[in-house]
Symmetry: C2
Subunit: 354 residues, 2 copies
Amino acid sequence: MAKLKNDRLIRALLRQPVDKTPIWIMRQAGRYLPEYREVRAQAGDFMTLCSTPELACEVTLQPLRRFDLDAAILFSDILTIPDAMGLGLYFVEGEGPKFREVISNRRDVTKIGVPDPEQDLGYVMDAVRLIRAELDDKVPLIGFCGSPWTLATYMVEGGSSRDFYKIKSMLFADGDSAHQLLTKLTESVTAYLNAQIEAGAQAVMVFDSWGGALTTRHYREFSLAYMQQIVDQLIREKHGRKIPVILFTKGGGLWLPEMAASGCDAVGLDWSVNLAQAKAQIGDKVALQGNMDPAVMATTPQAIQQEAENVLADFGNGSGHVFNLGHGITPNIDPDNVAALVDAVHERSVQYHQ
Amino acid sequence: MAKLKNDRLIRALLRQPVDKTPIWIMRQAGRYLPEYREVRAQAGDFMTLCSTPELACEVTLQPLRRFDLDAAILFSDILTIPDAMGLGLYFVEGEGPKFREVISNRRDVTKIGVPDPEQDLGYVMDAVRLIRAELDDKVPLIGFCGSPWTLATYMVEGGSSRDFYKIKSMLFADGDSAHQLLTKLTESVTAYLNAQIEAGAQAVMVFDSWGGALTTRHYREFSLAYMQQIVDQLIREKHGRKIPVILFTKGGGLWLPEMAASGCDAVGLDWSVNLAQAKAQIGDKVALQGNMDPAVMATTPQAIQQEAENVLADFGNGSGHVFNLGHGITPNIDPDNVAALVDAVHERSVQYHQ
């Protein structure tokens, strides 16, 4: 195994010294890039883009050609797992993901199986291998998945939801079925992430996009407990190198100490959390990833530089910070503003690593 | 002034002893009630319903005829203020509120004035007076308004928003204009709430529906600082009786100590916050209002009773808790489930007040 030419991300996730703060951006491969929109149009539909390794590899690498990013992240979708379970994922323009089959009760839960990553999701592993070959150890590749709770919301609601009444009815009135579903998802997600690691992912991230919709009691029981199981079962070292794992619950600012106690290496933060406060709370246990308000990306390079400085200053001195937005970058952003952000983070973070 | 026949709400907000935990429900006058839908249909459109004191009074009182609630809340909309500023509020079925005029820059901000409550929003004050007369001191009447920040989001975005990119651009790149807008809104809201109090409101609540969309720094600067000004300028006592003020920031669980330090009497909590933790944090300074997950209302009376017990047990012994949902009740709820909740809270809270 060759050595990573830029290992800032891995080092920061492990809270080892770095020369400057690493940065990558959630959805860095995405619609704000004209070259992405071109490949997306060529693919025809979104799932074809995800399931064609050459195309997924191409869009994964696009932002790295433009910006001095410290990591690549696999281009894929969190819903490939329920799709591989046979629920029939499809996308309606402007409406988000939908499933042809919906999980409504215990019988539906009993029917679904645990996908075999190489058999049923081989296109993802092929993409990982292809990206690693193309990356040539320039920067690390991050693998990812959705959290069991987040996947379950889409499977029970049949798509995106605002209030989650269907799945919450299951939590409140038929908790056993919910636990059975989440157990299957946890087994699936663990195997999926471990297969990504075997295929070449050098760090992994669990996206709990909807954990913040829960009560504290339900978050612990139906989301965090399952992420904890995943963390416990992941491959954490390969060829003598650590594989860091990042947990991100959007809207999870109230639960940082519990997330940090899961044994993960890093906690992702949305922008509502103050990074200085988070560091004081859990910075002795884990690295922190985030957390600039994505809305600033729609303004000017000057405002972006200013806010990047605020975020860097909030974390302050030392390693253990991976700069990111607090949520994914949106399609309306000017790529020049992304360049301004990446450069600002690298330039202005040097002072915190001396 | 006659004495309130049921003063549980006021006593709990002031952390004085009560026999059982009072309960009211955000949006208790609303579309889940068939009798509301009838009046709403009769009114034709939503703004006619809000601006006709007899109709607003009628729907305010409807839930009290069905349920043993401990408070009435004025039926109105938080956007009456920007409407009175001349922005032209209208409602599109299924899309929420919209404005004909939008605030985009400093010049737009300069043009708007501060409405005179009795002149420009007399229909609200008339409704308050009418409701008080009809209530005959059975339970207290809660007045309310939107927070300056929350009103500003609608005025700048032109309606509801998911990402708040327009107004956040103002915060990041033209903070002075944002402050000027928020200053005018604060003056307007303060006069409006004080007029409601003069007209007969016996407690008031500030709804900061969108404060949770902000960074901690922006929340302090652009939302809480203005709510603080309102709290400082409200009429807090009338005819020898305290007028309690409740602050509610949806998604504000990270900022409870700062909210409690504003001088308000009570803090409203959404369901993500654990009530026991909130009580430990700020229960010695303020009363707490909330915070059952509204989703449980779509299940069964048994599940509702169980969750009500969980919430009551989280607060535990003593006064200082006003039971409510963590957000408004939704149109899909069976009124029988509301009856089950109200009765469960009254019956099962007695043990905590002995």
